[in-house]
């Protein structure tokens, strides 16, 4: 891909209990971005082109995954960026937070097998109409690490657009959804960890395709007024 002239500035948000912010910042930097780790009490993200909510256990996952994090001050500007068509990515716990915040449809329940899944999985690019997947090829198979207990996606509204689909659906997710995009495609949640598959020494570099896509994505037209 052709990189932007200036490195995109990405906010990597840390909630109490987030634990993947360093991996995410490292991988984003490798992918050509200028990431900054920001605390969840921050009430503006004016300096940033895009935002990533990394994985972990925000607010201890108490009540429900993402239920408390949704009310952190930073979620105000995250919602504004989402509405303005800027790229917003939630990884694992970040995906759960985006669902709780209503920025993506659906919710998460315990894996169908009730075990914490920690292994590489294969996902297929089922739609390229999203910030995360537009630089990938439709049908392309990517190898990414999955690391979650509540990765079982449910969407009674049937409005979530699946952009990555598990090949073996290890957690029972509805429609085999490993990643979901909003209608405009600028807000994406992904359950496996692309940021942990960005160097050969980690066992896969496939995550780089997704992160570069996320960073190189043109801004989409706003879908609703702010």
């Amino acid at each position: 891909m052709t990189g932007p002239l200036t490195a995109p500035r990405v906010a990597v948000v840390v909630f109490p209990g987030t634990n993947c912010e360093l991996d995410a910042a490292h991988a984003l930097e490798l992918a050509g971005a200028k990431p900054d780790i920001v605390w969840h009490r921050r009430a503006e993200l004016d300096d940033f082109d895009s935002v990533v909510l990394p994985g972990g256990f925000a607010h201890g996952d108490y009540l429900r995954t993402g239920a408390i994090a949704r009310f952190s001050p930073v979620m105000g500007p995250v919602g504004e960026m989402a509405a303005a068509g800027k790229p917003v990515l939630g990884i694992c716990n970040g995906f759960q937070i985006l669902c709780e915040a209503g920025l993506l449809p659906g919710a998460f329940i315990a894996n169908s097998g009730l075990s914490f899944i920690c292994r590489f999985v294969e996902v297929e690019v089922s739609s390229t109409a999203s910030m995360l997947t537009h630089a990938a090829a439709a049908g392309q198979v990517l190898r990414l690490p999955l690391n979650s207990y509540e990765g079982n996606y449910v969407d009674p509204s049937l409005t979530g657009r699946v952009v990555l689909r598990y090949r073996d659906n290890p957690n029972g997710a509805q429609g085999g959804a490993a990643a979901i995009a909003n209608e405009a495609g600028n807000v994406v949640g992904v359950m496996p960890h692309p940021e942990r598959a960005c160097e050969a020494t980690l066992g896969s570099e496939d995550g780089m395709i997704l992160l570069r896509s996320f960073l190189g994505a043109p801004r989409l037209e706003p879908t609703r007024s702010r």
């Binding site: 239920a67 449809p105 329940i109 097998g113 009674p156 509204s157 029972g172």
Partner: protein
């Protein structure tokens, strides 16, 4: 004032814990168990003594935070004042 909140996952949403417990109960000889569902109970102690106001306030708490409207319903019961 004490208020009990019952968070109930909608019947059409799977309950993997319930499925596993049904399997275990059947292995123990309780073959009559058709289904098990896990609810979440939260007991709140509130300042104030007006049960009508408490009911309304706690229902608002459920809508804002305690229940996820995508997959859960809730029942609010005012217990002893």
């Amino acid at each position: 004032m004490r208020v009990k909140v019952e968070i109930v996952r909608r019947p059409e949403i799977a309950d993997p814990q319930g499925v596993t417990v049904v399997r275990a109960l059947r292995e123990l000889g309780f073959g009559e168990v058709a289904e098990a569902r896990f609810n979440r109970t939260i007991v709140l102690d509130l300042h104030g003594t007006d049960p009508v106001s408490a009911q309304a306030r706690v229902e608002e708490m459920c809508r804002r935070l305690l229940a996820n409207p995508v997959i859960e319903d809730f029942e609010v019961q005012v217990l002893e004042p």
